[in-house]
């Protein structure tokens, strides 16, 4: 089965052709440089860039692969979560294509896409396994029980972990994006210098809360300032805050694995690049196998959307022209059956 995938949920424009577990082509245009100068993803600019790049990227896909559209079995497009303006470009383009070529059209949950990305990297990977998705927008624990059954078992009830990194970096006057900055300076600091709270760590569920951490850091900074020190111990603060977050993440995800008798954990999302996080994985290496897919499939791309959409198409699903993007696709306790 050959599926065309389209991804425009945030700041990567991507189109791909996937045949079963094989990526025929996966073209990604990253807008990161465009946004960098603004200090964050500007939704309006993201949408403009998608519109500008998508047709050219699509033409390139056709000419590079020499695949004729008549050969494809369907079109898969990210329907959310994501920036509404950005999602709309991909979805509307996909609708036009579906109408023109009379193809089935399925809307794919971006997160489910990330899960299916694993099959493109590790075709041998078999459920059950746990996914920890840690990015700027999402902090989730997913349980993949069996092929095609994905269940959301934990999530941040407030800020995403990437968001916490960014906000704390801001409090510490570090640059944007905050994650890599904190990662960098934390190496120079002492993770035990301050003890920040590990909220919800010992709760029975697998949810996270990172909103309190930023407050704790804020108050620590204020306390230090009041104490009259000449220079903030930025490195120590960053290291300690990072330590708190990673502790919670690892504790909870390994607990989720154990509770569910699962011995495989897949890490996904930008925060998975964090060096301290990777370092600490070793502590569990004897009991648990960790998969960290290569960045190509870990960052946003259309191949994973095509792969996930394939499951929907196999089931005969066709969302047709009434497909609409859903920017906040998650609701608490929702069960995502991705296929």
């Amino acid at each position: 089965m050959i599926v065309l995938g389209i991804e425009t949920s945030c700041d990567e424009t991507s189109v791909a052709l996937v045949e079963d577990n094989k990526v025929i082509a996966n073209l990604v245009y990253s807008q990161i440089l465009t946004h960098k100068k603004f200090g964050g993803v500007v939704p309006e600019i993201a949408a403009r860039e998608h519109l500008k790049k998508l047709p050219a990227l699509f033409n390139q896909l056709l000419s590079e692969t020499q695949v004729d559209i008549s050969q494809i079995d369907g079109i898969a497009v990210t329907k959310g979560p994501g920036l509404i303006g950005a999602l709309l470009v991909g979805v509307s383009f996909a609708k036009g294509l579906a109408l023109r070529y009379n193809k089935k059209l399925v809307g794919v949950n971006h997160i489910v896409g990330h899960v299916y990305a694993n099959y493109l990297a590790y075709s041998e990977l078999k459920p059950p396994y746990i996914v920890l998705m840690v990015s700027g927008g999402h902090t989730l624990i997913l349980k993949v029980e069996r092929e095609g059954n994905i269940r959301l078992i934990g999530r941040s009830v407030d800020d995403a972990v990437g968001e916490a990194f960014d906000k704390i970096a801001r409090l510490l006057n570090l640059g944007y994006p905050g994650g890599p900055e904190i990662d960098r300076v934390a190496k120079l600091g002492n993770p035990k210098a301050f003890h920040f709270p590990r909220p919800k760590m010992y709760d029975a569920d697998y949810d996270f809360s990172f909103s309190g951490l930023k407050t704790a850091v804020l108050y620590e900074i204020e306390k230090l300032k009041k104490s009259g020190i000449s220079e903030l111990p930025t490195n120590d603060l960053a290291a300690s805050a990072q330590e708190a977050m990673i502790d919670v993440l690892l504790y909870k995800v390994t607990k989720a694995a154990k509770d569910n008798n699962v011995d495989k954990i897949v890490l996904a999302g930008g925060v998975a690049a964090n060096s301290r996080l990777r370092e600490k994985l070793n502590e569990f290496a004897s009991e648990i196998e960790f998969y960290i897919p290569p960045l190509e499939f870990c960052s946003d791309n259309a191949a994973m959307i095509a792969r996930a959409g394939m499951e929907l198409l196999k089931k005969g699903i066709d969302d047709g022209l009434m497909l609409e993007p859903v920017p906040n696709l998650f609701e608490m306790n929702e069960i995502i059956v991705g296929s």
Binding site: K37, E44, I45, L51, G85, S92, F93, Y101, M322, P325
Partner: protein
């Protein structure tokens, strides 16, 4: 020749299809999202062979950014490797007053205090663009209009028209708010016109008439300039 044309620059989605055999014109104002309204329009055109269109017309704005992008990206998908013609969404509104002999100003609300504006002149069914679409504050638009129109006959259309009673006729009856919106027939006429003038563009050169860089971009440029000036001192 099979031609499909659509404008999504306002809450009303208007579209037309025509070939040698038939013409279908549809206007939808269902308060649904643009994406849904576009799909509804297409559903209502089931007699159309969308696989074999020859030309696709697109209203490129100015107007609601999201709506525009929905319409344009839909058309780009629909028209891969086909010919496109671009329709000015303000001229489309000016066409509502085609039979008016005199100046036709079109003013549509943009962000608070600003208007998308364009100035046209019509005589015996010939509409000419006098001032291409631009975005400005109400006062600047007024000055620009005044300068050209002087005291000659003028009619002002668009949801910002009420500010221009000193410059031209403004249709005040509520029902005539219809004339502030595009019509499928006029879309048809402008599409024909663009085709006859051979104004074809290809997919890669279509861009909505945003008329304004995103303000974030403008702010960035401003900051860069300030920085440069500081460094120069």
């Amino acid at each position: 020749m099979k031609v499909f044309s659509i404008d999504t620059s306002t809450p009303r989605v208007v579209a037309c299809y025509f070939d040698e055999e038939k013409k279908i014109m549809i206007e939808l104002d269902t308060k649904a999202k643009h994406g849904i309204q576009v799909s509804q329009v297409v559903e209502k055109m089931k007699e159309v062979d969308f696989a074999n269109l020859d030309v696709i017309g697109i209203g490129i704005g100015p107007g609601g950014l999201t709506g525009l992008r929905v319409g344009i990206s839909f058309c780009l998908g629909l028209g891969i490797k086909k010919k496109f013609v671009q329709i000015s969404s303000l001229k489309l509104i000016a066409m509502n007053a085609l039979m008016f002999n005199g100046y036709i100003g079109v003013v549509r609300k943009a962000r608070e205090g600003y208007l998308y504006a364009g100035l046209y002149h019509s005589e015996n069914g010939k509409l000419q663009t006098i001032v291409e679409p631009f975005i400005e504050s109400i006062d600047v638009v007024r000055e620009k209009f005044k300068e050209v129109v002087s005291n000659k006959p003028a009619l002002i259309l668009g949801d910002g028209a009420e500010n221009f009673k000193d410059i031209g006729i403004v249709l005040e009856e509520p029902k005539y708010s219809e004339f502030n919106l595009p019509s499928a027939r006029n879309l048809y006429l402008l599409t024909i016109e663009e085709i006859n003038s051979n104004n074809f563009v290809d997919a890669l050169h279509i861009e909505p008439l945003y008329l304004q860089k995103s303000i974030a971009e403008l702010n960035f440029e401003k900051k860069q300039r300030q920085l440069q000036q500081m460094q120069e001192k």
